[in-house]
């Protein structure tokens, strides 16, 4: 008899909260509960619960402003907080290599992940904003990431085992060790960054090894070290680190505004790192722009379209700067 009563109660609970099955679209709310099925009528309380119940390729939609906790993303999914709604995260999960991070992306090699409208505010500790170890395509849109001023954490840190396509737009990264680190140590990273702001970090944007990045209308300012920097330590002479900046601003950085950093290894005459700047403003930095500072091997090349404003830096330009007249 008791068993029947318990079963009846369980069934009634499921009916009350909706039957728990995976769905193409799940919801979270500040008034939700992780005992729910994450439907529109019975939203969950945390991203983690809503992610568990959403189909591959589905959406987790934020209904109202609240904190929703850190998350690990291991499948294709979109996390959407519409304009006017703040989806806050201030805690961390651990990555597979035990790094604390607010959002950890460890999805399949062809998976597409969208983060829109995230608001990460790390109050203390060496906690990363977004740490990416594997994904096919990652879109970060209209999101805000603030670190705890720790030099050891990155705002967006991509260090994937396989190729990654990265799109960032209309976002901000503040007070991390590195605002945005794209590390093509193991595989190629193709990146497009638009209308994004990196501010008050130690280093603003750093690219390493097999990265092809195009940044437009993006600002890197007030960082202790570099604004934008590209560096190549890949032993293959065919792999070039490449950065194109269009209508970007590098200002008020303690180090170099825009740096094409020579490789640490001898690559002969091959240009290992190539940075192109066009229509950019580089001002109030320790050094404005810096290309290769010495002749010989492992050259890095800084190319200017001749339409940049490079003024009022401690030293405006160091090293060889190559001109490109445009097409």
């Amino acid at each position: 008899m008791a068993r029947i009563v318990c079963t009846a109660i369980a069934v009634l609970s499921l009916v009350a909260a909706g039957v728990v099955v995976a769905a193409p679209r799940t919801f979270v709310s500040g008034d939700g509960s992780d005992s729910n099925n994450c439907s529109r009528d019975f939203p969950c309380r945390s991203f983690t619960a809503a992610l568990a119940l959403v189909d591959d390729g589905g959406e987790v939609v934020v209904i109202d402003t609240a904190g929703y906790g850190p998350m690990r993303i291991s499948k294709p999914v979109s996390i959407i907080a519409p304009p006017g709604i703040l989806a806050a995260i201030s805690n961390s999960v651990l990555s597979d290599d035990l790094v604390p991070t607010a959002i950890y992306v460890r999805a399949g090699p062809s998976d597409k992940v969208v983060l829109r409208g995230m608001n990460v505010n790390i109050q203390a500790g060496n906690i990363f904003g977004v740490l990416v170890h594997s994904v096919g395509t990652l879109h970060i849109e209209n999101s805000f990431f603030k670190g705890s001023n720790s030099d050891l954490a990155g705002g967006l840190w991509v260090d994937a085992l396989g190729p990654v396509k990265l799109f960032v737009k209309d976002s901000q990264f503040r007070t991390f060790g590195t605002g945005m680190a794209l590390r093509g140590m193991n595989a190629r990273i193709d990146a497009v960054v638009e209308r994004t702001r990196i501010q008050d970090t130690f280093d603003g944007v750093t690219l390493a090894n097999d990265v092809k990045a195009l940044m437009r209308e993006t600002v890197s300012t007030g960082n202790q070290g570099v604004g934008f920097a590209a560096y190549n330590g890949n032993p293959s002479i065919t792999v070039r680190t490449s950065l194109i900046l269009e209508r970007c601003t590098a200002s008020n950085n303690g180090g170099v505004g825009v740096l094409a950093d020579p490789a640490s290894i001898n690559k002969g005459a091959i240009v290992s790192t190539l940075v192109t700047i066009s229509n950019c403003v580089v001002t109030n930095n320790g050094v404005g722009v810096q290309g290769t500072t010495f002749a010989g091997s492992w050259p890095a090349q800084m190319t200017t379209r001749g339409n940049n404003t490079v003024r009022e830096n401690g030293t405006n330009s160091i090293g060889t700067i190559v001109s490109d007249t445009g097409f």
Binding site: P24, R25, F27, R40, D41, G57, E59, V61, V62, I63, S78, I80, P82, P83, G84, I85, K112, T137, H139, E141, K165, F167, K169, D190, V192, E194, K212, L214, R216, S242, I244, E246, L274, T276, S278, T303, R305, N307, D324, T325, G326, F327
Partner: protein, 344 residues
Amino acid sequence: MRTTMKTLLVLVCALLAAGIVGAAPRTFVSAVGSDLAVCSFGAPCRTFTRALTFTDPSGEVIALTSGAYDPFTITAAVAITVPSGVHATVTSSGANDSRNGVTIMAGASDVVMIRGLEIDTSPAVSVGAGASGISYQTGGHVFVEDVTLVGNSVGYSKAGILAEATTAPRRLVVRNVVERGYLVGLAVGLFCCSVRPDFVDIVVEDSQFHGNGYAGALLEIKGTSKVVIRNSLFSGNGSGVNGTGIHVVRGDLVHPGAKVTLEDNVVTHNTEFGIRIVGGDVGEPIVSMAHNVVAYNPTGVKVEECPSGGGACGGGTIAFRMGNNTVRENSTDSAGPVTLYSGF
């Protein structure tokens, strides 16, 4: 007879409970609404289709809550509005759902606005489902603003925005749109017709087209069309070696190609061409490029005054550059003749 009366009575009571049914300048939909309601703010409908039937010409349908909504067809002047704070998704019902997200079959002078909506046809994965996000078939002036379009990247949905009408449409404005995962992002003339579509003008601004199976934009239009694409991104298009950011093709046998202006765009990481312009013996397009960044494509700018597949060739000048584009870091930056023009 008694049953009929009873049904009628229930219906009348339902209508009274939901408010009186009549056309209104402004109707509302909600994920918790009902199509038995009158689509008012207090009694919203569940579907756009139902709300449209209660909306005055040139009226407005507003989504009140986040959630999924059925695909729908617009046949008259109307504004579909999703305000900030609401994430309303028009979505396919399943793998074999071949419906477009939004189909526009309005009158020749009707103005249609779609604002703030997400359209997700990615569930339609069956080969041949052929759904597009927005299919613009007839209408006077269509605005698509702040819209997200999501295809499936698997069987490849047809087009994010498909403008395929051969008569009547006049203007298409696409602004602040994010599109991904279709065969083509913006397709004009691709899937129809021996006679190319006829637009007075097409303007695309501040938008993104990426991850499509073939192209970010494919423009195959009559010469009466004037196309301006500015400050937009075309990236990561191509599922294999065939992938183009912006592909402009000649018009048809009777009409010259369109005049296309590309200004301030970023065209990058596509699998074959950044910008590809193809002419022929008749119907040649004229493409002008200024302030664009074209990088990290196998070929940056490809111009074929004569089609590479053979056929008659007029050999006229079809591509112009202003000298202020950044075309770098492609395996081949430029192939084919491009004429330099000066600024004003």
